[in-house]
């Protein structure tokens, strides 16, 4: 940790670079907000200074909420994200607990396999999965994505929880075992309640990953009524070559808000999970 001495040096070493990164990181969001509040006459007039809103209007938000299925997409996105996160946490624990606590032949191999599956990107599997989902008759149902999102979330949760579980001391479990508790009982009553921070971390990541997923949702959900926000915005607010920029920006901003809120509440958990070196980038 080297700190600058004079105020000039401090500006050059600290505020210039940090300010630059902040402006670059946040400008697109500022631009979303500004665009979504401009009336069309201002939006498509090249002679008006574009960086501020001269005549703010909520028209694009009202149109988005009344003329499109945006609220329904938001609902779908939430249902899918919550259910697939819950499934993934449960299945993730079932993988991570034995790997973290038990000694059995093949444990190392299973841990490696889980890590490898976690790293498989969706584009490698989407074509056979599309065929499989069609044959199961799940096309255009939320079940299609609720079933497929855990393919990436289960290995992810298992991996993150495995790292967390190993940091929890074993003494309480050993004491419970000596008192005659069965393994399942020890895990459920003694061990899992100690791991709440790990569940919050894994849960937030799984939730944001499901909100972010696009490829499977694009392929499996082609009817407006079952779409998630990212797919709905891309497929229905861009009609042919016509772009409804005001609505698009309003949708992009509103669609980002749930993730941003969850993130702002748990930012420390998020950063902790991020820096444990087990998160996709």
């Amino acid at each position: 940790m080297v700190t600058g001495h004079g105020p000039v040096e401090r500006v050059v070493r600290l505020w210039l670079p940090v300010g630059f990164f902040l402006i670059v990181a946040l400008f697109p969001f500022y631009w979303m907000a500004v665009t979504s509040l401009k009336p069309n006459a201002e939006l498509y007039n090249r002679n008006v200074m574009p960086l501020v809103v001269h005549h703010p209007t909520l028209k694009h938000y009202i149109d988005l909420l009344t003329q499109t299925s945006f609220l329904l997409w938001t609902w779908n996105t939430m249902v899918v994200a919550i259910v697939s996160t819950a499934i993934s946490l449960v299945l993730g624990v079932m993988l991570a607990y034995p790997l973290a606590r038990m000694r059995f032949a093949g444990a190392g191999l299973i841990a490696m396999t889980v890590a490898a599956i976690y790293l498989v990107p969706q584009p490698l599997l989407f074509i056979p999965l599309a065929d499989l989902i069609n044959r199961l008759g799940l096309g255009n149902t939320l079940s299609a994505v609720i079933l497929t999102y855990p393919t990436m979330l289960v290995p992810f949760c298992a991996w993150l929880l495995l790292g967390y579980f190993k940091t929890v001391p074993k003494e309480l479990e050993e004491a419970a075992r000596i008192d005659g508790a069965g393994r399942l009982q020890t895990m459920r009553r003694i061990f899992l309640p100690l791991c709440t921070p790990g569940f919050i971390s894994a849960g937030i990541f799984a939730f944001t990953l499901s909100q972010n997923e696009f490829l499977y949702a694009l392929i499996f959900l082609t009817k407006s009524a079952v779409r998630t926000v990212p797919v709905g915005v891309i497929a229905e607010l861009i009609r042919g070559d016509v772009f409804y920029w005001g609505q698009l920006m309003a949708g992009a901003l509103l669609g980002s808000i749930p993730v941003a809120i969850i993130y702002s509440f748990f930012v420390e958990h998020y950063v902790a999970g991020l820096t444990s070196g087990s998160v996709k980038g």
Binding site: P128, V233, A252
Partner: protein
């Protein structure tokens, strides 16, 4: 001897495996495999099976909604003779390498800038991570508007500083389009690098810097011989993660350019999507997606071995 054997015998008897069903269930291996069976079966059904089925598909001529016919390696031969396929291969490598280098250098700069004491440090860190957590598709839509051919705010700036109207066509020119997707991918991934490397920097013991300073090391030498070597492990993990998911990137390109203009930004994932979902050739599409596999397998193997939790 006799005094000790009594309690020991008791323990052995209690642990005897076949004594009862509950005793059997209590064995570590039995408990573990029973517990892991549901998630493992789930992954086998929805990752293992599709992967094998994808290989089978790639060996078939399989129009959507029709039965497939086995054609051997025909799809792979078609790819080999397809100039677009080689363009896609080159694009994917250029995109991955350029974006990864930018993220690495920019992320290190961000981490070094943030590794100082200043007021509001935590809120600043939270804001810097926003590009990484906001759904990619939604932020890409904002970039699309920033680079719009007619109303680009970027060109408004450029024209204001004297660039002739109408300014560059960011997504219409093949080179600029590739540059644009590289920069946007960097924009999204850089905070992840920066914050992870920052955490790495904070684990460097201050004594090392003090010792180096006492030995007469300059600021650059402290960075080169203390900071960089200690950051190397975390950098390697972050880079492998980033390379894997940049290499197989889909959403950014699909939304921003659809692979255009004239396939200038087409990547493996978007090309496979076009062939399989657009043209309805599932078999051919699967063969393009599988073309990613050798490189991905090497990367995944490397990272899996590196981050093994023993």
């Amino acid at each position: 001897m006799t005094i000790r054997s009594e309690p020991l015998a008791g323990i052995v008897r209690r642990r005897r495996p076949t004594a009862s069903l509950s005793g059997w269930l209590d064995r570590e291996a039995v408990f573990s495999w029973l517990m892991m069976a549901p998630p493992l079966l789930f992954l086998a059904a929805l990752v293992g099976y599709p992967f094998c089925y994808g290989i089978l598909l790639s060996l078939q001529d399989r129009p959507v909604a029709h039965a497939g016919t086995f054609v051997g390696l025909k799809n792979f031969v078609t790819n080999f003779n397809d100039p677009v396929f080689w363009r896609v291969t080159a694009n994917t490598f250029i995109y991955t390498i350029a974006a990864t280098l930018l993220k690495m250098v920019g992320g290190l700069a961000l981490a070094l800038a943030m590794n100082q004491q200043f007021p509001l440090k935590n809120p600043v860190r939270a804001l810097l991570l926003l590009p990484f957590i906001v759904p990619t598709v939604l932020s890409t839509v904002a970039w699309m508007w920033i680079l719009d051919p007619a109303f680009s705010v970027l060109n408004w700036f450029l024209i204001a500083v004297g660039v002739p109207k109408p300014g560059p066509s960011w997504l219409g020119n093949p080179v600029l389009a590739m540059g644009s997707i590289i920069v946007i991918n960097t924009w999204r991934g850089l905070p992840f690098y920066g914050i992870t490397l920052l955490a790495g920097l904070q684990t460097v013991p201050p004594e090392l810097y003090e010792a180096a300073t006492i030995d007469g090391a300059s600021a650059w030498q402290r960075f080169r011989f203390v900071t960089l070597p200690l950051l190397q492990p975390i950098t390697l993990i972050v880079t492998l993660f980033s390379v894997i998911f940049t290499f197989a990137d889909f959403q950014l390109v699909y939304v921003l350019t659809h692979g255009g203009p004239q396939n200038a930004t087409q990547l493996f994932a978007t090309y496979a999507f076009d062939i399989a979902m657009g043209a309805g050739q599932l078999g051919h599409g699967a063969s393009i997606a599988l073309a990613m596999f050798p490189a991905l397998a090497l990367l995944i193997l490397a990272l899996t071995i590196y981050m093994r939790r023993g």
